[in-house]
Amino acid sequence: MNYIKNVVTLKLEPDLCTGCGLCTEVCPRSVLELDPAQGKVDLINRDSCIECGACMMNCPIGAISVQAGVGCAYALLKSRIQGKEKISCDCDCS
């Protein structure tokens, strides 16, 4: 299952990528893949990205950027109603 196309903020700087592959290990949606020939990571499935931020957090050289957050409409609406700029997962989910 895939969500809305062409919206995610995920960016990869190929020039910075060292091909360590840590991002591919943490991505839960198989968005990234290590290309052994190039020795770099490719975005093979960008629209599957859920912007969880795991790849960005675990990239040691900062080659990946994404506006990470929760894909939760309730959190978004609650934050807007409360006038909060930051959309945080504070819906008491567990």
Partner: protein, 344 residues
């Protein structure tokens, strides 16, 4: 056991016992088993219905399962009891250590999003638990879904413990260990199968019930005693209940079968189909029957939109886009339905 060898502290000086130096007295360690008791099974069901959902936690610290030696693997978990229970069950009787973080009783993935499953918490817990005194290796296995909250390389730099990411599902732990602590693509990919979607239905229903249960009960009672026209029940109340059931029960089940990608649009289509069918069953005139989808399909669409929070494949950017478009359309639809209901 061996002495602590993770000697780099924050200042970079070669001070021994850094990772264990914050412990006070003997570190506490708790022995557990992998088998679930009846109370664990019952709790795992009740928590799906919201019972003690925010207070079902285990104490942070170090646990052992089986009889682990100094080479046994170390798994890290949240202190949400269901996360912890799934991990220990997934381990079966594999001798291992479980390092439980203080995630305020929140599950691994949500805690990573809230940053309570964090780099600093892992580092602090490694140090306070005295983990280095129990194991000879320097390797910890984090749940992959904790990765949005942690920088593995920072944990390694601060404590000397190399971070490995385990599989998404605890059922794959044995295969993960058998594969030399490597998760293949299948193990790394999060799914949202029918059973996963069914498990979150009770919480969706309870969420809707918080808003609608008392008003619906009150309206039914008033209609029953003739205080409001009895026709109000089949005309408005039952369609509302149908719209709610469609949005909270049918939508999660049918999610992959519904067309389009936006949840609200999928839900709106489901609502229109269900409510039109209801109108048709009541032998309504076509134009009159249209009031039902106008009024109540937005209710189904709203709860479908709310399901983005439970799903495992929605992004914040996508949710922003669809919410911005869907909410005004829902309001307009309801207003048109209201006008039509009054006019007809």
């Amino acid at each position: 056991m061996n002495g602590c060898s993770c000697s780099e502290n924050k200042t970079g000086k070669n001070t021994p016992l850094t990772c264990c130096s914050q412990k006070i007295g003997e570190p506490a360690i708790t022995r557990i088993t992998s088998a679930w008791k009846f109370s664990d099974w019952l709790g795992s069901i009740l928590v799906r219905f919201g019972w003690r959902r925010l207070n079902d936690r285990v104490a942070p610290g170090l646990y052992t399962i089986g009889e682990p030696n100094a080479h046994a693997p170390v798994f890290v978990s949240a202190n949400y009891k269901l996360s912890f229970d799934h991990l220990r069950r997934g381990l079966a009787e594999t001798p291992a250590y479980i390092l439980v973080l203080d995630t305020k009783g929140v599950n691994v993935w949500c805690a990573a999003g809230k940053k309570s499953f964090s780099t600093t918490e892992v580092i602090a817990r490694i140090r306070s638990s005295g983990l280095c005194d129990f194991v000879s290796h320097r390797e910890i296995i984090l749940p992959q879904l904790g990765a949005p909250g942690v920088r593995g390389f920072e944990i390694t730099r601060e404590t000397g413990f190399r971070v490995l990411y385990g599989p998404v599902r605890t059922a794959d732990i044995h295969l993960f260990l058998k594969n030399g602590k490597t998760a293949d693509r299948r193990m790394r990919t999060v799914r949202f199968d029918l059973i996963d979607r069914i498990k979150v239905i009770p919480i969706e229903v309870i969420f809707a019930g918080k808003w609608f249960f008392i008003p619906i009960l009150l309206a039914f009672t008033l209609g029953w005693f003739g205080i409001i026209p009895p026709a109000f029940i089949p005309d408005y109340l039952l369609p509302l209940v149908i719209a709610l059931i469609l949005g909270t029960v049918a939508f999660p089940i049918l999610l992959p079968l519904l067309p389009f990608r936006a949840f609200s649009l999928k839900g709106w289509i489901l609502g229109v189909l269900g409510l039109t069918a209801y109108g048709w069953l009541l032998h309504r005139e076509l134009f009159e029957a249209l009031t039902l989808p106008l009024l109540f399909a937005p209710v189904t669409a709203f709860f479908a939109l709310n399901f983005t929070g439970a799903s495992t494949f929605t992004s914040l950017s996508g949710v922003k886009k669809e919410t911005t478009r869907a909410i005004p359309m829902m309001i307009v639809s309801c207003l048109l339905g209201l006008v039509a209901a009054i006019w007809l």
